[in-house]
């Protein structure tokens, strides 16, 4: 039984400031502080974001919306951003990225989780995460924003790409956006039209909203569209600004169309899967070293340490043969292969050794 009620968690947060300062200056160990705070309430933490599951709601055959109450460390989050959700599986803290479909000012958020075939986390979350359980989240990030000055907005979503766009759309309509909005959602089957009922209800309430679905794996009925994204799907209505979100292939197709002209003035896009890369062959990839602010072309043959040094970076390192762990860095996104064991890591936040890791595609490293 927690000693404090849930309602006290967020008001208590500013009082932790002195402890936070001491921990930041290494006078206190943050893990020990969090241990005692969690005796008071499991959501309390100096710096980390913990959230309690308040409600579960199926929004399509394969997508579950979770309503979560976050602690006070979740501040200034916006719909359309995404967070990592952490969960320990077999001793390993796994994380997956989910978009915020709703955010209120009191730390209550909604995430929508789509079941991924063969995924390690999505099925587990859908089947086993119970009401009242606590999960850890990362701070929110992401730059998609609603173009509130635009005279018309086109939203293009594929699969779970609907989630950030829905977050932005809900907020925009609630705050009185009245110019025309068109949403095209591409799904494989009819049952995957996530949030369909809510979108239909929104359409009835807001005359400026038009939502259409396109089925890529089933025959279309009624006013449904059919097939993958093609320019003919985009209605004649003028749209100044477009937002696109979906897997890499979808976003690339939208970008090609957009670059062709006769299209909205600006396009914001977010792809949630990386471009596929053949392992084994030497290919060009994008490397990003976040702390150093360096982005460059790299290859899949040399170790990340060598490639970082070739960019003039001087990462801390030691033995250069995978023994001493001095060059360990966090992998933020992408996939790397361990040269010694052939083991592939693609877990965001995973510690990798630069000297024995080669990228398998575009990667981002916390260096």
């Amino acid at each position: 039984m927690p000693l404090l009620p849930l309602a006290a968690v967020r008001p208590l947060n500013p009082l932790l400031m002195p402890w936070r300062r001491l921990a930041a200056r290494a006078w206190l160990r943050e893990a020990d502080c969090d241990y005692w705070l969690q005796r008071l309430h499991p959501l309390l933490s100096l710096n980390r974001v913990y959230a309690r599951l308040l409600a579960r709601r199926w929004v399509s055959d394969d997508m579950l919306a979770l309503t979560l109450q976050c602690n006070g460390n979740a501040c200034d989050w916006r719909p359309g951003q995404h967070v990592q959700l952490f969960r320990e599986v077999d001793g390993v803290r796994l994380s997956r990225c989910y978009s915020l479909t709703a955010v209120d000012g009191r730390g209550r958020i909604e995430l929508a989780i789509k079941r991924q075939a063969g995924g390690r986390l999505s099925g587990l979350l859908q089947d086993h995460l119970g009401i009242g359980e606590c999960v850890e989240l990362s701070q929110a990030s992401g730059s998609l924003r609603w173009p509130s000055q635009a005279q018309g907005v086109l939203l293009l979503a594929a699969g779970s790409g609907i989630t950030p766009l829905l977050g932005l759309l809900r907020q925009a309509l609630a705050s009185g956006y009245s110019a025309p909005v068109t949403l095209l959602h591409y799904v494989r089957e009819r049952g995957q039209r996530a949030f369909a009922e809510e979108l239909q209800a929104l359409m009835q309430r807001h005359a400026n909203l038009q939502v259409r679905w396109s089925l890529t794996g089933q025959a279309a009925q009624g006013d449904e569209l059919s097939g993958r994204f093609c320019p003919a799907h985009v209605p004649e209505r003028a749209a100044e600004q477009a937002l696109a979100c979906g897997p890499h292939g979808f976003v690339a197709a939208v970008q090609r169309w957009w670059q062709g002209g006769e299209t909205p003035a600006s396009l914001q896009s977010e792809a949630f899967s990386p471009a596929p890369v053949d392992a084994g062959e030497q290919t060009c990839v994008r490397l990003a070293f976040r702390r150093s602010g360096v982005a460059c072309q790299g290859d899949t043959a040399q170790s990340l340490l060598e490639q970082a040094e070739a960019q003039g970076l001087r990462p801390m390192h030691g033995c250069r043969q995978g023994i001493c762990t001095r060059c360990t860095c966090q992998l933020l996104s992408g996939r790397v292969r361990d040269l010694r064991s052939g083991l592939v890591s693609d877990e965001p936040g995973q510690a990798v050794r630069l000297c024995v890791s080669v990228p398998l595609g575009d990667v981002e490293i916390d260096l």
């Binding site: 030691g318 043969q321 023994i323 001095r326 360990t328 936040g349």
Partner: protein, 362 residues
């Protein structure tokens, strides 16, 4: 290397030897999971329980049963934190868990040596160049001559005294190792290079002393308890930990049958060579489960040196395979009781205090 009877391995054998150890490493890596995660968290829980209950008992003043128990519990907590938790976590043994609280790059342990110093002198220098005279500073830490291969200096004549001081102040010896004061006094390290290191060292020293010798005694004063009892209890706990860690670490590489290597022998070293050097340069301690835990599983020094980044709790089961592999390749597997191994270390300290000619005539 007269004290060992190892078969020399040719290139093909070395490759096969490395492949067998690599395979053992892969098997263990593949089987890491929730048991290992649970274990290290339980160790951390034990550290907290020991340290906090020890500190609480010390608040009761000089009353012998509580004061002694409090000091011993605090010492036990510090030993566990130093050996099984801090040392192993800082090797990145639990990095696979992705837990920021157990990340090898960020963990800061409860001793005066800053973790960053240790990650360099120990994880990099010592583990890469294990027992290479002139490259691995852990061979005698610059104050002890343990092998005839080390050049004798008059200074070594009194080394039993230096070693005693080092044992009593072991955490400081470990901490200043990275400052390379010998290089500074020889003029090979400038004051400008030394200054940032000194600043880092002083900051950590201040934190450790502030906690053990100021904060808790003052807290005792404020609570109306005996500040001196708390202060002395902390001193005793740190002293006991110094002695224990000294004994364990000296038994790791300086026993009678431990080998040292020349700088020339490691030029262009292959993975097989590196494995072989780790096996020959390390020595194990035999004992019960408690001994293994209290040494942070450095009682399996051989396995630790072959696989420094695998969770130490796995060394015991890996030792069975390593022993069999060593036997198949005709390599001595250096293992013995704690008392027996320590005695051979002390004998080395006594024997090699004298110059080479004198040592020949006992």
């Amino acid at each position: 290397m007269s004290n060992r009877e190892d078969r020399e391995l040719n290139e093909v054998e070395l490759q096969a030897f490395a492949a067998e150890l690599d395979a053992l490493r892969q098997r263990t890596l593949a089987s890491l999971g929730s048991e290992d995660a649970r274990y290290i968290r339980r160790v951390r829980a034990a550290v907290r329980a020991c340290c906090w209950s020890g500190r609480l008992l010390l608040m009761l003043g000089w009353f012998p049963p509580t004061w002694l128990l409090g000091s011993l519990l605090l010492a036990l907590g510090k030993i566990l934190e130093n050996m099984e938790l801090g040392h192993n976590v800082m090797h990145g043994q639990y990095d696979w868990m992705n837990d920021p609280e157990l990340s090898g790059r960020d963990y800061e342990w409860d001793i005066v040596g800053p973790s960053d110093f240790w990650r360099h002198t120990h994880n990099h220098v010592h583990h890469t160049w294990t027992n290479v005279v002139g490259m691995d500073d852990d061979v005698g830490y610059g104050v002890v001559r343990l092998f005839p291969e080390q050049r004798w200096k008059p200074f070594y004549r009194w080394q039993p005294l230096w070693v005693t001081l080092q044992a009593l102040l072991f955490q400081y010896a470990v901490a200043i190792q990275h400052l390379r004061l010998d290089q500074y006094f020889k003029g090979r390290l400038s004051a400008a290079e030394l200054r940032p290191l000194l600043r880092q060292f002083n900051a950590k020293l201040l934190r450790q002393w502030g906690k053990d010798y100021l904060l808790f005694p003052v807290l005792a004063l404020l609570l109306g308890a005996n500040a001196l009892a708390v202060l002395v209890g902390n001193l005793l706990a740190n002293l006991l930990r110094n002695l224990w860690t000294f004994a364990v670490i000296f038994c790791g590489h300086f026993t009678e049958k431990a080998a040292v290597f020349s700088k020339e022998s490691v030029l262009g070293e292959s993975r097989g060579h590196w494995y072989l050097r780790q096996l020959r340069g390390s020595s194990n301690l035999e004992g019960g489960r408690l001994l293994h835990i209290l040494t942070g599983n450095l009682s399996h020094q051989i396995e630790h040196h072959l696989f420094p980044d695998l969770p130490a709790r796995r060394y015991a089961e890996m030792a069975v395979d390593v022993r069999a592999i060593a036997q198949r390749y005709g390599q001595l597997y250096n293992s013995g009781s704690f008392a027996g191994q320590l005695a051979t270390v002390l004998r080395r300290i006594w024997r090699y205090r004298l110059p080479p000619q004198a040592a020949l005539q006992p």
